[in-house]
C-alpha cells in the first residue's frame, strides 16, 4: 500500500480563505481597466492569462456574481456614452424626417447617401461590439462556466448583446422624438430596397451586415430562433412594404395588358427577391417574401393575365410560345395547385381545336349530324374520300395531341393536374364526334393495310401507340370493337394485312390498354385463321392420299370461322331475307362437298355455312384474240366473280348472258351480283366481260359477253370487287344498323352486369345499383342511364329482380 496515502491530504488552498474585499477590488480594478482597453481596441499587449486569473480569483472567492454585475454595468456605461454618441452623430436629419418622401429624385439621392453613411457607422459599431465582447467572453470564460450556470443567468455575451439592443437600438434618437435608431435603420434599409426594386444599384453588403446585426440580436435572453430582432421588427415592416409595392406593380402590369410582359416581369421579380434574400437581407425571409409575391403579384392577377385578349394563353397556344407558357404555368402553380384559370383556358382551347378537326372531318359529308337522319336522299361522296377524311381526322387529332404533349412536357413540367385536364378535353371533343370509333378503326385499318409498309418496327410501334392513345379517350369502346372486328375480319379474310406481326402487336396493345375481355374475340379470330391454315394443309394431305383425281384439281384454301366470334352479319349482306345459297359450278361444288365430308368427319355435329361473298379465286382464263392469238391471264377474282366467269365456259363465243339469266343460274344475291358484274364489266382496266349497253348501272335486262379482247400488261390480273370488300366509312343506313346492333349488345351487357351485381348483393338500393353498373361497364362504354332503367324494368318483368322497397327504391334478386 502506498505510504503517502497515509499522509493527511492537504486542504484546498483556495477559496477557503474568507473573501477579502481588497482582493476583489484590486482584481476588478485591473480587470475593468483591461476591459475598457479591449473596447478601445488597445488589447494587443494585454495578457489573456492575467485577465483570466483576475476573473478566476474573483470567482473562487465567491464573488462571481458581483463580477458579473460589474461587467454588465461597465458595458452599459460604455454603450450609453461612447457608442451611442457615435451612432447618433451619424443620423442626419434627412433620415429622420423624410420618411416617405422618396418621390423627389434629388432628395432621394441625398437621403441615400446619408443612409449609407449611417449604415456604415452602425455596421462598424456592431462589429466592434461583437469583437470586443468576443474577447471579453474569452477572458471571462470561467465566469460564464461557473456563475452563469449557478445563477441561471444569460452568459455575459448574451447579456451584453441585450444591452446593445436596448441602449443603442431601442432608445430615441433625439430626446424629443420617439424615433429610435432601430426605426431609422428600418426605414433606411426599406428605402434602399425600394431603390433597388426600381432598378438602381445599391450597396448590398452594407445592408447585409446591418441585417446580420438584427439577426444576431434577440428579444429575449434565451435567444429562441423566433425572437430574433430581424423577425420581430424588421421583417414585418419589410413584408408590408413589399406587399404595397407588388400590389401596385401587379395593377400596372395588368393594365399594360401584355401577358408575356407580365410573366417576364413576375419571373424576374421572383428571382430578384430570392437573390435579395440571399445577398442583401436574410434567407429567413425567403419563404415569406415569396408568399407576398405569390399573393399580391400573382394570385390577384393570374386569372386576368391568362385570359387576356390577344396575348393570353390562347394566343400562346396558337403561336406555340412554349417559353412564355412555361412562365404562365410556373406562376400559376406557385399560387394554385389546381391552376384553375390556366386549365380552363387550355381545356377550352383544346376543345375548340378539336371541334375544328371534327367539323373538318365531317365537312365533306353534306349535312351535319343532326339533319342527316332526315336527309334520306343523301348523296354520298365517293367512299374513298370519306375514308380519307376519317384518317385525316385521326391524323389531325394525333398532331394536336403531339402538340399538347410537347407543351405538357416543356411548358407544364409534366404536371399531373395539367395532364388530366388535357386528357379530359381530348376525351370530350373526341367523343363529341359520333363517328370517332369508326374513324379510329379505319385509321388502324388503313395503316395495317398500307401505312406500315416500309416502316421500321419502332415506327410501327409508335404509330400503333398513337392510335392506342386515342382509343384511351374513346368512351364507347364496344363500338370501336365492333368496327375493328369488322375491319379486321376483312383484312384477315382478304389477306390485306401488311404484316401479321403488326396485327398481333396491335391486339396485345389493345389488351394492355382495355383489357382481356375486349380482345378475346379478336384473338379468337386470329386463332380461327391459324386453325384454318392447318385444316387446309391437312385437307390437302387428305386429298393427296385419297388420290381421286377426278376432273381438274381445284386447289382449295379454306377459312373455317366460328360464327359467334366473327361479324357474320356484317359480312354477308343477307340479314333480312332468307336467301338460298349460291349455286357453285360443278367443279367447285365437288370440292366443296369433299371438304364438307372431310371436315365433318373430323368435327361431328358442326354446321358449315359457306360465305361465298368473302372468298377469292384464282382462275386461268384463255382469251382468243380476234387476230388468232391466244392470251392467257391468271385472274384473281372474288368467289362470286369466279362463279359468274365459269358460266361463260359453257357459253359459245359471241353469245351473251343477261343479268337475269346469270342471277337465276347462280343465285348470287342481287347486291353482290351487281357489284361483281360491275367490277368485271364496268371497271376500265379489268373488263373481262363486255356489257351491253355499256353503262355504269346494271339492269336486269343487261347482257354480258365474254371479252376476248381483254388486254392487260400483266399475266396476273387482280380484279377487285367494286365496293364492299374495302373498309370504309359506313353510309347512314349502315350506321343506323350498326347503332341498332350496338344498342342490342349493350342492352345485353347491361342486363348481364345488373344480374351479376344483384346475384352477389341480393338486395340493393337503386342508386347504388346504378353506380355499380356504370362502374363495371365504364371500361367498355358509357351506358345511357335510361337504358339501364329500361333494362332493370325488363329484368323485373322477366322476374330476375323484384322491387323490395320504395323509399329509397330497392331491388331484390330472385334466385
Amino acid at each position: 500500500m502506498a505510504m503517502r496515502a497515509r499522509q493527511k491530504i492537504r486542504a484546498p488552498r483556495k477559496g477557503l480563505a474568507s473573501s477579502k474585499g481588497d482582493d476583489f477590488e484590486a482584481n476588478w480594478q485591473a480587470l475593468s481597466g483591461s476591459l475598457k482597453r479591449i473596447h478601445t481596441k488597445d488589447a494587443s499587449d494585454l495578457s489573456f492569462e492575467q485577465l483570466y486569473r483576475n476573473a478566476y480569483n474573483i470567482i473562487v472567492t465567491m464573488r462571481g456574481h458581483d463580477l458579473y454585475e460589474r461587467v454588465k454595468q461597465l458595458e452599459r456605461e460604455w454603450l450609453a456614452t461612447e457608442v451611442r454618441s457615435s451612432v447618433d452623430a451619424a443620423i442626419s436629419p434627412s433620415l429622420l424626417f423624410a420618411q416617405d418622401a422618396l418621390d423627389i429624385q434629388d432628395q432621394a439621392n441625398e437621403r441615400r447617401a446619408a443612409g449609407e453613411r449611417f449604415l456604415a457607422v452602425l455596421r462598424e459599431t456592431w462589429e466592434d461590439h461583437q469583437l470586443s465582447m468576443g474577447m471579453i467572453t474569452d477572458v471571462l470564460m470561467y465566469m460564464d462556466r461557473v456563475v452563469v450556470a449557478d445563477h441561471r443567468k444569460p452568459s455575459i455575451y448574451v447579456a451584453s448583446m441585450a444591452l446593445f439592443r436596448d441602449i443603442v437600438l431601442r432608445s430615441p434618437v433625439r430626446p424629443d422624438t420617439k424615433t429610435t435608431v432601430a426605426d431609422v435603420l428600418e426605414s433606411t434599409v426599406l428605402f434602399l430596397v425600394q431603390l433597388e426594386r426600381s432598378g438602381q444599384i445599391i450597396e448590398r453588403p452594407l445592408i447585409r451586415h446591418c441585417i446580420y446585426m438584427l439577426e444576431g440580436l434577440y428579444e429575449t435572453i434565451t435567444e429562441e430562433e423566433s425572437s430574433k430582432l430581424y423577425l420581430t421588427s424588421f421583417e414585418p415592416a419589410f413584408l408590408e412594404a413589399s406587399k404595397t409595392f407588388y400590389q401596385k406593380e401587379g395593377q400596372r402590369l395588368v393594365e399594360s395588358a401584355d401577358a408575356a410582359t407580365f410573366c417576364k416581369v413576375a419571373m424576374e421579380r421572383i428571382t430578384e427577391e430570392k437573390e435579395r434574400c440571399a445577398s442583401t437581407l436574410s434567407t429567413l425571409s425567403e419563404p415569406k417574401i415569396k408568399e407576398v409575391l405569390d399573393n399580391e403579384l400573382i394570385k390577384r392577377n393570374i386569372a386576368e393575365v391568362v385570359n387576356l385578349e390577344g396575348t393570353g394563353v390562347r394566343n400562346m397556344l396558337d403561336q406555340d410560345r412554349l417559353d412564355i407558357l412555361r412562365s404562365v404555368y410556373v406562376l400559376s402553380s406557385r399560387v394554385d395547385n389546381k391552376k384553375t384559370p390556366l386549365t380552363a383556358v387550355v381545356q377550352k382551347c383544346i376543345v375548340d381545336m378539336g371541334q375544328e378537326i371534327n367539323t373538318l372531318a365531317t365537312a365533306p359529308a353534306p349535312a351535319p349530324e343532326t339533319t342527316d337522319k332526315k336527309a334520306v336522299k343523301e348523296k354520298e361522296k365517293p367512299m374513298n374520300q370519306q375514308t380519307m377524311s376519317a384518317i385525316k381526322w385521326v391524323d389531325d387529332i394525333l398532331a394536336l395531341k403531339k402538340k399538347f404533349d410537347a407543351i405538357w412536357v416543356d411548358s407544364f413540367m409534366s404536371d399531373q393536374v395539367m395532364q388530366s385536364a388535357i386528357t379530359t378535353s381530348f376525351s370530350d371533343f373526341i367523343n363529341s364526334n359520333p363517328r370517332s370509333s369508326e374513324h379510329l378503326s379505319l385509321f388502324f385499318d388503313e395503316n395495317l393495310k398500307k401505312g406500315i409498309k416500309g416502316k421500321t418496327d419502332s415506327e410501327v410501334d409508335s404509330l400503333l401507340d398513337n392510335g392506342i392513345t386515342l382509343l384511351r379517350y374513346i368512351k364507347d369502346k364496344d363500338l370501336f370493337e365492333a368496327y375493328y372486328k369488322k375491319h379486321l375480319s376483312r383484312r384477315l379474310l382478304m389477306k390485306r394485312s401488311a404484316s401479321m406481326d403488326a396485327e398481333r402487336q396491335m391486339i396485345s396493345k389493345m389488351k394492355m390498354e382495355v383489357g382481356n375481355q375486349f380482345t378475346q374475340r379478336l384473338e379468337s379470330m386470329f386463332k380461327d385463321m391459324t386453325i384454318s391454315e392447318d385444316l387446309t394443309s391437312s385437307y390437302k394431305d387428305h386429298i393427296r392420299k385419297s388420290a381421286s383425281h377426278d376432273g381438274k384439281p381445284v386447289d382449295l384454301e379454306i377459312n373455317v370461322l366460328t360464327s359467334t366470334m366473327w361479324p357474320m352479319e356484317i359480312m354477308s349482306n343477307t340479314r333480312d331475307e332468307v336467301q338460298l345459297s349460291c349455286v357453285f359450278p360443278r367443279e367447285v361444288e365437288s370440292v366443296k362437298q369433299s371438304f364438307e365430308q372431310f371436315y365433318l368427319s373430323k368435327h361431328s355435329g358442326r354446321k358449315l355455312s359457306w360465305q361465298a361473298s368473302m372468298g377469292t379465286a384464282d382462275i386461268r382464263a384463255t382469251f382468243q384474240r380476234s387476230n388468232g392469238k391466244t392470251a392467257r391471264h391468271e385472274l384473281n377474282v372474288s368467289t362470286y366473280a369466279m362463279v359468274i366467269l365459269l358460266l361463260f365456259n359453257d357459253v359459245a363465243p359471241g353469245e351473251s348472258l343477261t343479268f337475269a339469266e346469270i342471277q337465276s343460274r347462280t343465285r348470287i344475291p342481287d347486291h353482290d351480283l351487281i357489284r361483281n358484274l360491275q367490277s368485271l364489266a364496268v371497271a376500265p382496266k379489268t373488263r373481262v366481260l363486255k356489257k351491253d349497253p355499256m353503262s355504269r348501272e346494271v339492269k336486269p335486262t343487261d347482257r354480258f359477253f365474254f371479252n376476248n379482247d381483254f388486254q392487260s400488261p400483266f399475266t396476273k390480273v387482280r380484279i377487285g370487287v367494286v365496293s364492299g370488300s374495302a373498309n370504309k366509312v359506313e353510309n347512314n343506313d349502315q350506321r343506323k344498323e350498326t347503332e341498332k346492333k350496338m344498342n342490342e349488345e349493350r342492352g345485353a351487357s347491361i342486363e348481364a352486369a345488373v344480374v351479376r351485381i344483384m346475384k352477389q348483393r341480393k338486395t340493393l338500393v337503386h342508386s347504388k345499383l346504378m353506380s355499380e353498373v356504370l362502374g363495371q361497364l365504364s371500361s367498355r362504354f358509357v351506358p345511357d342511364v335510361n337504358m339501364i332503367k329500361r333494362r332493370i324494368e325488363s329484368l323485373i318483368d322477366r322476374e330476375y329482380l323484384e322491387r323490395v322497397g320504395e323509399d329509397p327504391p330497392t331491388y331484390g334478386y330472385i334466385a
Binding site: M1, A5, K14, F48, E49, M135, Y142, H151
Partner: protein, 628 residues
Amino acid sequence: MTEGNVLRKDQLEISLVKEKKLIKEGNLKDDNPLDLSEPFAELCSACRKGDLKVCQEKITEGVNINARDPYDYTPLILASLCGHYEVVRLLLESGALCERDTFQGERCLYNALNDRIRNLLLEYDYSKSTDPLQPLAAHVASLLTREQPVTSDIVVTAADESLHLHKFILAARSPYFRNKLATAPESTSGNLPPTIPPQAFSVAIKYLYLGEAPRDLKSGPGTGFTESEVFQGIDRVARHLEIDTLLDSIIDSGDRRLARQRRTAEIAKGRDQLETWFRANVLGNKRVVETSKASSEKWDRENPIFADILLQADELPEDAEPGREPTSTLFPCHRAMLLRSEFFNTMFTSMFREAYVTDHLHIVNVDCSPEVLEIVLTFLYTERADFPLDVAVDVLFASDMLFIEKLKTKAAVVISTLGSGNLSQSEAAKTRGTHEEAEEEELDIYGIIRAAWMTRVQRLEEFAARYLAYRLEAHIDSPEFAELIAESASRIQARQETDSIELLDDIRFYLNERFRLRFDDAGLGEMMRSAAQQPQAAHPAAGADADADADGTEKEIEKVANGVDMIDLSRVAAPPAAAASQHDRDHAPVIRTLDGEIAGDEFDKDAANYQILMAKLDAILEELNLEA
C-alpha cells in the same frame, strides 16, 4: 428485463470456441490473458470485497484489469457479480472491456447482480469507445485539419502535396524526422522524394498523427494511381520515414475485434513514443529559476525541442524554504498539445498577447504548483494521469481552472477511491462497535466537500456524503459538521431550485445504505421488522420523523425479503463481513448501542444506532433553524 438482447448459453459457447481457436492460431490477441501474479490476485480480491481503494491502487500500479484468474473470472465480472457498483464503474472508466457478443462480455452482463450494474455495463459497450487513449489520438489527428489557432511549424512537401505539420510530433513518431530535425531544428520546410505518391505520403502522415487507417486509399481509375502503386508508395514512405508498422496498419483485416486490437496497440505505441519524447524533451528541459527572474528568461523561437510557449508555475508559499528566494519552474511546451485544454485553446485563439508570435517565447504563468503543472502537462501530452492522493485536490483545482474535464474527473476518482479508506462493505462492518478506535483521518473531508462544490464535481459530493455517512458517529457532534450542513443549505438558497438540503439528503441515503447492507446480510426480514420497531418504544424522543424513516426502512426491507435469491447471493458475497462480525462478538460480549444502552442483539443495536443518528441529524437541522 428483456432477455432478447443477451446471447443464449449455447451461442455463447460456440463463440467462445471460435475465439479460442483464433487465439490459438495467433490471429487474435487474447483480450483476457490468464494472470497468476500476486498483484492481480489482490485486485480480484478487492473486486470481490468492493474495496475501491485497493482497486485504484492496483490499477495505478499497472495491473492488467482485463486479465483473468484461474477460474476465468475477470475483475469486472467479479465486481459486477458481487454487486459493487462503484468498483464496476471504476473498472469501466479505467478501460475494462465489456463487449457485447463476446464470451467474457456476455458473461459479465449475465452475472450482473442487479439492473443498475447491468445498465452501467451496457452503457460502456465498446461502441461508445472506452479506449482510454482515444481522446489523445483524436486530438493529435485533429491537428492535421485544425485551422485555428495556427500551431504548425513545418511544411513538408511530397510531390505536389504540402502538409502543415508539427516538428515535435514528427520527431517523436519518426526516427527519420528526428534525425533530420536534430541536424536542422530551425528548418520550416522539408521535402520528400517526388517519387512518393501523394496518397501514400498523406496516409503516412495520418498514421504518424494517430489517425484512423483510411478505408479507401484513393487509388483506382481517375486518380492516376493503381492500388498496387499506392501500396508500393506506402511501403517506400514507410522505409523512408522508418515507420515499419505502417503497412500493417493499413491492410484491413475486416475483423472488427482484430482491427480494434491493432488500432489500440498502434495508439498505445504512439502514446509511448510521445511520452518518451515528452519526458526527454519537455520535462527534461524544464528549468527552475528564481521567481523574480523568471520573466527575464528568454527562449528563442528556434529551439531544439520546437517549443513555442513557456509555462511558468510558481512554488507554493508553504513549500518555500525560508530565507531562500521563491522559485518558479518553466516548462517549454507546444501549443498544439496545450490546445486540449479549453483554457489554452481560447488563449491562443483570442486576440491577446499570447496569441501573437514574437521572437522570444511567451511565458505564461499557470496558477498552480510545479508538481501539479507537470501532472497536467503529462496528461495533455500522454493521457497519463497517475498521481498520488496528496496532490489530487490541487490537480482538481488546476484542471478545473484550465478546463480539462477528463483530468478533473480523474482527480475526483483518485480522491474518491484512494481516499475511501475503510468504506468498503467489509470494513464497514467494523464501524459497528462503539469502541472502535478512532482511526486517523486520511483526508480533510470538509475541505473535500467544499472543493467538490467549488469545482462542481457531483461525484465528489456523493463521495463525501458517503464518507460522512459511513462514519457519521465521529462527525455528527462536531460544530464543523453543523457548519457544513448550514453551508450546503445556503448553497441551495442561492440556487433556489429545491427546498431540500442536498448534502443531508445524500448522507441519509448512504446512511440507509450502510445499515441496510448489514440487515440484508442476515436475510431475515421478520427479525428486522421487530428490530426496527423496538427502538421506537425505547426512544420516544425520536418523534414523528423517525417514525416516517422507520416506515421507509420497512418498505425497503420488504422489497429485499421478497428477492430471496438476491439475499443468497449477497450472503455468498460477504463472507468477510460475517467473519468480521464474529470477531466483534468475541471481543464485545455485551452489545451496546451508540447511546450506551444494552441492546438485545446486533440487529437491535444497528437499528437503534440508525435511529439515533437520524435523530441527531434532525436535531442539527433544528438548531440551524432549517427546514428539510
